[in-house]
């Protein structure tokens, strides 16, 4: 009987995960965009309902339809109109679309933190009042669980019928498979995409509203819970609505059934993590078992960078002076400045891996966290680790993260585009849920380097940053840098030119994780304690988006972005950086290449350099012109 009751309890979780997954699937099948921001959309709608019911005192019967039928679809439509339509019109790569999607997620987090703050709300209104319904055989099911199951099944049936049996479904498939041909056939692709986004936004909102009463209503909390349910879309290989619902219910019920098992000691710590994080585990396992997702559209493009922006020369000495003089931070103490070199190292790691090597990595927080945890462990002598001086502990932490990077680089050899992005996100999430958030591994780690005060520690950070910059300089210029960029631009072309792409990719992952681990170690040493929220998976998304917006292929951009990131949040309301980064990323369709593009445009407008003429054949030497038959 307990088994049945637990299974019925798991149905509720599974049904909501199914709805969130269906929202992502419907957007993907109609637009080709994998909506990583669905968690953020869900959270915004849930916050709206909370505001309407508890602050404005609207009746639930009015507020709920407005939230689900107006606000949710409106957010979806706004995303389509403001973010993805411009990208689609200029046939942006999968990578750019993915960045815009993560940018949208960051933007929703920024909006929510500005409007409602970062605190948790406990009194989210429930759509269906709870109450037990007796079933034959003595089992009971919660009324809201039953309602959620019914809604999920009905939505699944409707979507499946529409996709397979109606003209609308046929048109949607046509637009995603061959947009240009569909346009020539008179299909209104924008309308199809708008419907897809409205449905996706509505379903995400429904999932958020249903989840909010049982989980935390906070910008990060609810968003992350919905993000984890992406597992069901991956298991369904981005194809089948039925597979989404079946896998969601299976994981939900499986997670509930695991509550019956109790172990002891470390085994229970690990098993307890599995019990509460089966969706995260399913996401990672699903991605490892399914290296190729049914990606639509232009295919998997791994590069997020073009040629680096031409920074004015004065930016380097000015930036160096700025970094070397924490006294220039007029309103803040050196404790705030200490965040900059640590974050700059993490941004440099992303610049190396995503910007130069072209590997989309959403899991930087995982590497930073491992580096931080190991550095803290070695400094404190915790968890059976030998106690070593702080500086050596930082190096050990970085090396440990580098080893993890090497290991996680292996799956990347067979993945690209969306599959790679999601795999790195899953690795970061698993590390967060199974290690960083477990008190057994992290409690009591209170550490501080004995280097003679804050300014001395800041100077030490700058030394590490210089070493990191040296490493990046060595790896991104000259022979290695050219080979990495060649492998990024065309793996087949690089192999044809004799570049060992496999080794290059693994080396990039290891080097990047080492830098992130060092940055994470400095971050925890600066804070004086290990804080799992500082290496939350959403931080990884935020960092990745920031680096891309700043100019993914530029070390100068990475360091300046770190400084600005910290300064903005210090002088303005905390969370403002989310808003700025999210806005810039979401506007990639209208402002390609973010800040780097703006700088290029400004310098060209100021006449510093001439944009290259498209009439290139004239530049060929006579021999080349003769070879191409341009002269006789």
């Amino acid at each position: 009987m307990i088994a049945i009751d637990l299974a019925l309890a798991g149905v509720a979780v599974g049904a909501v995960a199914a709805l969130a997954g269906l929202g992502v699937l419907v957007t993907y099948r109609t637009t080709g965009v994998f909506n990583i921001a669905s968690g953020g959309m869900a959270m915004l709608v849930a916050y709206f309902l909370w505001e309407a019911v508890t602050v404005w005192h609207w009746p639930l019967a009015v507020a709920a339809p407005v939230a689900l039928l107006v606000i949710g679809p409106a957010i979806g439509l706004a995303a389509e109109w403001g973010v993805f339509r411009p990208l689609r019109r200029r046939a942006a790569s999968t990578a750019e679309t993915l960045v815009a999607s993560t940018g949208l997620l960051v933007l929703t987090l920024g909006l929510a933190s500005q409007i409602w703050g970062l605190q948790t709300r406990q009194n989210a209104p429930a759509l269906v009042p709870s109450g037990a319904i007796d079933l034959p055989g003595g089992a009971t099911i919660d009324r809201s669980s039953l309602a959620q199951l019914v809604i999920a099944v009905v939505v699944c049936i409707v979507l499946t019928v529409v996709a397979r049996r109606t003209r609308a479904g046929l048109l949607a498939r046509a637009v995603v498979d061959q947009r240009s041909l569909a346009l020539l056939s008179g299909v209104n692709a924008d309308r199809v995409a708008a419907i897809g986004w409205a449905l996706g936004g509505g379903l995400a909102g429904l999932a958020g509203v249903l989840l909010a009463p049982s989980t935390q209503l906070s910008p990060y909390g609810l968003t992350l819970v919905v993000l984890e349910t992406l597992a069901v879309v991956v298991i369904a290989k981005l194809k089948s609505a039925v597979a989404v619902v079946v896998s969601a219910l299976a994981i939900g019920i499986g997670q509930a059934e695991l509550q019956r098992v109790q172990l002891n000691g470390l085994a229970q710590t690990i098993f307890g993590s599995v019990q509460s994080n089966l969706f995260v585990l399913a996401l990672l396992i699903g991605l490892l078992l399914i290296p190729q997702l049914a990606e639509t559209g232009a295919g998997a493009v791994s590069s997020v960078a073009r040629r680096p922006a031409r920074w004015p020369r004065w930016t380097v000495p000015v930036g160096a002076a700025f970094l070397a003089s924490p006294v220039l931070f007029p309103l803040v103490d050196v404790t705030t400045a200490e965040q900059v070199p640590a974050l700059a190292l993490i941004f440099l790691s992303l610049m190396l891996l995503s910007g130069v090597a072209g590997q989309i990595s959403l899991g930087a927080a995982g590497y930073a966290g491992v580096g931080a945890l190991l550095a803290a462990g070695f400094t404190d002598g915790a968890g059976g680790l030998p106690k070593v001086p702080g500086v050596i502990a930082l190096v050990f932490g970085a090396i440990g993260a580098g080893v993890l990077g090497l290991i996680t680089g292996y799956p990347a050899l067979r993945r690209s585009g969306l599959a790679l992005a999601l795999t790195t996100l899953a690795v970061g999430t698993v590390a967060s849920r199974f290690v960083f958030e477990q008190p057994r591994f992290t409690s009591g780690l209170t550490i501080r380097l004995a280097v003679g005060g804050d300014r001395a520690f800041y100077a030490l950070e700058l030394v590490f940053l210089l070493l990191g910059l040296g490493m990046v300089e060595m790896l991104t210029h000259g022979r290695v840098g050219r080979a990495l960029r060649a492998a990024r631009d065309s793996p087949d072309g690089a192999r044809a030119a004799g570049v060992d792409v496999r080794t290059m990719t693994l080396a990039a992952f290891a080097a990047s994780a080492t830098l992130a681990g060092l940055g994470g170690g400095l971050m925890v040493e600066a804070a004086g304690a290990f804080d799992s929220s500082a290496v939350d998976p959403l931080q990884g998304l935020l960092w990745f988006t920031t680096v891309v917006v700043a100019g993914a292929d530029s070390a100068v951009a990475a360091v300046l972005a770190a400084a600005l990131f910290v300064i903005v949040d210090t002088v303005a309301v905390p969370g403002t950086s989310l808003l700025v980064v999210g806005l810039l990323a979401a506007l990639l369709g209208r402002l390609p290449r973010g800040i780097a593009g703006i700088i290029d445009l400004l310098t060209s407008l100021l006449g510093r350099h001439r944009l290259d003429s498209p009439d290139e054949p004239r530049r060929l030497n006579p021999a080349g012109r003769r070879l191409l038959g341009l002269t006789r």
Binding site: V480, R482, S490, D500, L620, A623, L630
Partner: protein, 237 residues
């Protein structure tokens, strides 16, 4: 003399046998063409030779050395260098950097070698030489992504030539070029063959094949048939 030998290569996708014990020899100083209808398995054979696809059975030998288990980059370093139908130039690198990548990776990457000035100078000189030969000096510092198709074809050929290959594998080298440009590429390939290089090309365009090839093989039904040789070689067609 046969530089490249494919021995009994077979490859199936599911139940479909695309290559059925295909054998082929490519001689130094010759342009060998591989023709066949769409879906005949030309690209599969090309990829098995280039090393981006592992055959189910059979061997690939370069100058008598078995390369079958080597990946594409190792084959390239040994002198079997492909160019692809879909542009595979490095868009964000300049033309010169495109060529440098190939020149610098002719030998396996050693950490110490990456600091060797002598090797860097050799690579620079080789790039300059090929740039001059193919007339790319004027666009050497232009990012490849800003160049038109014809010039990109030339860059891709130059990138292959910089490695001083034993065998050039070309997948539809004149796709996207007009008749005059194709004739010019034909002249270039004939010149390379004259200099002793072995060239194997996969091509759709019969006029181009007729113009450039010493020997023509047709792939049909998973098997290879020699269909033509030029009068110069004296072999029967």
């Amino acid at each position: 003399m046969s530089v490249l030998v494919a021995e009994s290569l077979s490859k199936s996708y599911g139940g479909l046998r695309v290559l059925d014990s295909v054998s082929l020899t490519v001689d130094a100083g010759c342009v060998t063409a591989l023709v066949g209808s769409n879906g005949a398995g030309k690209t599969t054979l090309f990829r098995c030779l280039a090393g981006t696809l592992r055959p189910d059975s059979g061997r690939v030998l370069l100058a008598g050395r078995d390369l079958t288990r080597l990946p594409a980059d190792a084959r390239s370093r040994r002198g079997l260098v492909p160019t692809y139908q879909v542009g595979s130039v490095f868009q964000t690198l300049t033309v010169r950097e495109n060529l440098l990548v190939a020149a610098e990776n002719r030998h396996r990457f050693g950490l110490l070698q990456s600091f060797s000035n002598r090797q860097a100078r050799e690579a620079d000189d080789r790039v300059d030489l090929v740039c001059d030969e193919l007339g790319l000096g004027g666009v050497a510092d232009v990012p490849a992504g800003e160049l038109p198709t014809g010039t990109l074809r030339l860059v891709e050929l130059a990138r292959a030539l910089v490695t001083d290959p034993l065998v050039l594998l070309l997948d539809e080298p004149v796709s996207g070029l007009d008749r005059r440009q194709a004739a010019a590429v034909s002249t270039l390939l004939r010149g390379l063959a004259g200099a002793g290089k072995a060239v194997l090309l996969v091509e759709h365009d019969p006029a181009f094949v007729e113009e450039v090839a010493d020997e023509v093989h047709e792939l049909a039904g998973g098997s290879l048939h020699r269909v033509a040789v030029t009068a110069e070689t004296g072999k029967p067609s």
